[in-house]
C-alpha cells in the first residue's frame, strides 16, 4: 500500500526512506543496549553464594537477587524482540522500495 506524504514536508517516498534511516539507528542502539544488558546479567552476584551467612536474611536476599535477575532477563528478551522486529520492519520498508 502506498503511503501518503506528510503535507508540506516531504514526499511519501522520502518519509519512508527517512524512517528506514531512523530504524537503522534504532537497530544499532538496540544492539548496543543488548550488550549492556548482557554485561549487567554477567555482573549480577551469584544467588547460590553467601555460604557464610544463612537463615531468613539469606533466603530473602537470594529471592531478591533472583527477582532482579528475572527483571534484567526479561528486559534483555524484550530488547532482543525489538531487534528482530526492527529488522523485519527494515526488510518491509526495503520490499516497499524504502
Amino acid at each position: 500500500m502506498e503511503s501518503s506524504p506528510i503535507p508540506g514536508t516531504m514526499t511519501g517516498y522520502s518519509a519512508r526512506a527517512q524512517l528506514a534511516e531512523s530504524l537503522r539507528g534504532q537497530l544499532s542502539g538496540l544492539q548496543t543496549l543488548a550488550g549492556e544488558l548482557a554485561e549487567a546479567r554477567a555482573t549480577l552476584p551469584d544467588p547460590g553464594g553467601g555460604r557464610q551467612w544463612r537463615g531468613d536474611a539469606h533466603r530473602l536476599y537470594r529471592h531478591a537477587l533472583e527477582q532482579l535477575f528475572t527483571l534484567v532477563q526479561s528486559a534483555s528478551i524484550r530488547v532482543d524482540d525489538a531487534i528482530q522486529d526492527t529488522r523485519h520492519a527494515l526488510a518491509g520498508l526495503g520490499n516497499d522500495g524504502g
Binding site: G50, R51, Q52, Y61, D96
Partner: protein, 480 residues
Amino acid sequence: MAGDLWIGGGGSTAVATSELFDDARRLGGVRDILSDCLGRIGRIDRLVAGARLRAVDAPFGAFAAERAMDDAASAIARAAPAADGLRFALIASAHSYGIGEAVAERLAQDVAGRLASLLGMVLPAILVEALPWMLGIGGAAAIGVALLPADRRTALIAAVPGFLREHSAALSDPRVVELVRLSVMSADDFGGGVLHLPPGVGRALGDEGLGILGLATSSGAVVALARPTGALAETAVSVRRFGASAPSTPALSYSDRAARVPQGTAQVRIDRYSQAGQPNRFEVYVGGTRDFSLEPGAEAWDMTSNVTAMAGAEAGSYRAVSMAMADAGITPSSPVILTGYSQGGLIAAELAASGDWDARGLYTLGAPAGQVAVPADIPWVAIEHTDDIVPAVGGTWATADPVLVRRELFDGGRAPTDVLLPAHQLDGYRQTAALVDRSSEHRVVSAIEGFDRFGEGSTAVEATLYYGTRVAASGTGPGG
C-alpha cells in the same frame, strides 16, 4: 575447607565477608549499567515516534519494536532501583553486624572482667582449702613417675610434647581462641580481685575504663614475677648482616610481602628502594618467634621478647630490628613500610607506634598486636585467623583500628596435629594473603594500592637479611 574472609575496621563500622562486600560492589555496578541502559533506551525510543510510524504507514515490525522497547524500558526502570536497594541493604547489614559485634565484644569483656575480679577475690581462699588435696594428688603423681623404671620414665616425658600436639585441636577452636582473648584482657581484673580492689575501681582503671591497667600491666607483672628465676630476663642484643645484599624487585601485593617475611635463621629483611633524586625508601620485614623457651638464650626472637613487648617495654627483638634499620641507612625521616608475622608483627606495630620512624604503612600477619596504639594516620592491615590463638594473646582491638581481615583457616575441617598451632603457621597466612589479594573490598584494595605505590619509580631494590642475637647469653651465631 577454609572460610571466607571477614573484613572490618579501618575507620568503618562495616564488618562482613569479602563475598558480601563483593556482591555489594557488583550490585552497584549493575545499578550503574542499568541506569545507562534506561537513558539509552529513552534516546532510542525518541528516534522513531509512534505518530510518525502511523503517518508513513510503517510495517508492523516497527510498531512491534516500539511495544518491545516500552516493555524493556519498564523492566529496566524497575531493575535499576532494585539493584540499588539490594546494595544498600547489604551495606546496611554489614554496618549493623559490625556495630552488633562491637557491642557484643564490649559486653563479653565486661562480663569476663567481673568474673575474673570475683575469681581473683575468692581464689586465694579456694587455694588454701584445696592445697592439701592438690599437694596430695600432685605428690602421688610425682612419686608414681619417680618409681617408674628409668627407661619408661624417659619415654613418658618424651611422649608429652607428642601428646599435647595430638590433643591440640582445642587450641584451634575459635571459641577457645575467643575465650583466651577475653581471659587475657581480664588478667588485670583478676589481679584487682586478688588485691581486693572494689570491682568499680578495677574496671575504671582497666581496659573497660581509663585503660591505665591492662594487658601491658599484666605482662609486666609476669615479667617481674619471673625475673628472680632468671626467666624472661631481657639482655643486650647485637645484630649482624646475614649474607650479602641481593638485588630484588619492588613488593607488589599482600602475598608478595608475606612471602618476603624471613623464616630461616635471619629474622629481619630490609629492602632498600633507590629513587633518582629522592631519599631512599625501605620496606622492613620481621619474622616470628624462633625460640619458645622461657630462659633467654642466644636467640633474640624468643619468649622473653614476646612477653617484654606485650608489657610495652623494649624487647630484645625490638632493639635488634631498630639496630638493623639504622645499619641499613634508615633515618627517622626515611619513608618505611613495616611488615611482620607473629612476634615480628607485634614488633613492627610497636616500631610504627613509637614515632621514631616515618612509617607509611603497616602490615601484620597473626600478630598479638591488638593493644598497640598505632596512630590512625598510618595505614594498617592486620590479618588474623580466628582459629589462631596467638593474635588472641594480644587481646582485643581496643586501642587501634586497623583494616582487620579475619579468616577461619580450618573452617569445617579438622585442624592437623602435626604442629602445635596449625592455624598460626606462616604458610597458612601466606595462603590467606593470596585470598586478600583477590578481594575487591574497597578498604583492602585502597590499602594495597597505597603500599604498592610506595615503590613506584624505584631504579633499584636491594634486599639485606639481618640476624639478631642476645649478647649476654649468646655465642657468635651463624656466620654472615
